[in-house]
Each structure stands twice: as C-alpha cells, then as structure tokens.
Symmetry: C2
C-alpha cells in the first residue's frame, strides 16, 4: 500500500501546445507501478487552462478547488468543488480557471498507457 499526501508529490510544468500556466503532480503512475490507470492532480494558475484538444482515451476527473469551467464544443460549464466528470474518448475538451486571482485544482485519471 502506498499512501501519499498530494502536496508532497513533486509538481512539474505542463508544456503541451495550448496549455497556459498549468502544472501537474503525477500522484500514481508508472513510477509507482500503477497497473491500469494513473492519478494526476493539475493546478491552474489564475487565468490558466489546459489545451482545447482531443485524444483517443477518456478522463475521469474530480474538481478539488477553485473556479473551474469545463469547455466543450457546446460551450463552457462552470463547475463546483466535488463535481465529477467523465470525458469520453475523442471528445474535445478543456479545463479553464475562471478566476483572475486564485489558483484552481482538479484530479484527472487516465489509462496508464497514456501517462508518460
């Protein structure tokens, strides 16, 4: 059994095209021999966002802190702390911090083979 506190996990910059002021902690991933899926926590600086993109795998996500909107081709949906999301494979999506002053965090899980 591996027990961690999220804040103890090292944070790294997300350098993907289209990402703005995003950092990530890989909470459970290949380095932990997680067998099937990876747990990551993303931090968005004020005004930060992930890329508006698609990929052939799903996300399951949990809103942890802050004023986050989920963006799809149908528009923006503001989310509350504790909301959970399933983003299906090949669905265009983005997470956006709507605040100008406060950071925001969400947990996002993916199949392990997509966690580099």
């Amino acid at each position: 059994m591996i027990i961690k506190k999220i804040d103890d996990v090292p944070m790294q910059d997300v350098k993907m095209d289209g990402a703005k002021d995003v950092k990530v902690r890989v909470v459970f991933g290949p380095a932990d021999n997680a067998p099937t899926f990876a747990m990551r926590v993303f931090e968005l600086a004020p005004g930060g966002h992930t890329p508006f993109h698609t990929h052939p795998f799903e996300h399951e996500a949990v809103i942890l802190d802050g004023d986050i909107a989920a963006v799809t081709e149908h528009g923006d949906t503001p989310l509350d702390k504790g909301d959970v999301l399933l983003i299906t494979p090949d669905e265009k999506h983005q997470f956006k911090n709507r605040s100008n002053s406060k950071p925001a965090r969400f947990m996002c899980l993916v199949p392990i083979e997509y966690q580099k």
Copy 2:
C-alpha cells in the same frame, strides 16, 4: 462529457461478506460506458468497515471525509482528508471508520471489468 454531483448518484448497500454498514455510489461505471476504470464513492457509517480481503486488481483511493484508517497485515494507518492510496493487486486491505459518531467517505477506483 458527463458531469455529476456525487450526492446525486444513487447509493446502495454493500452486501459483501465482512462488510459492516457500508454503502456505495457507482459514480462512473459500466452504465456510463466508462472505458477503462470505474469511480465509486463508499460511505462508512460510524464503526463501519469494508471487508479485510484481497483481490487480483488494484485500488486507487482518495479520502473525502471523516476519520478513516487503512488496515493491512502490518496494522492500521489513520488517514487524513485528501490522502491518496494505491493498494496493489493481491494486497490484503480494509477501510475502517474509526469514529463512533460520524460517517466517513472515500473515493475508490478499480479497473472497469471488476465493477459489476
């Protein structure tokens, strides 16, 4: 994209041998066509616990509320809200609500083929 509030997901009794006063919400599972892994939220009544058992798949878990201990063959580990756990395949484990008065909740994810 499917967005849910955990409290809106129907809760059902966990009737496994060795479980005491445990209920579960299947937040994302086969009914949502979750492709790879299932997200569930377990609620333990005061004094409630999951079975002390093993199985051939992993758990990734997040402590949401309450005074929960993770139990292994090496003893009990009290956990804080926000702690995350990786329980490896075939590792004996249990979640226990240490409180006599308050419920406790944790999120627990498993490979989809093990979510009935």
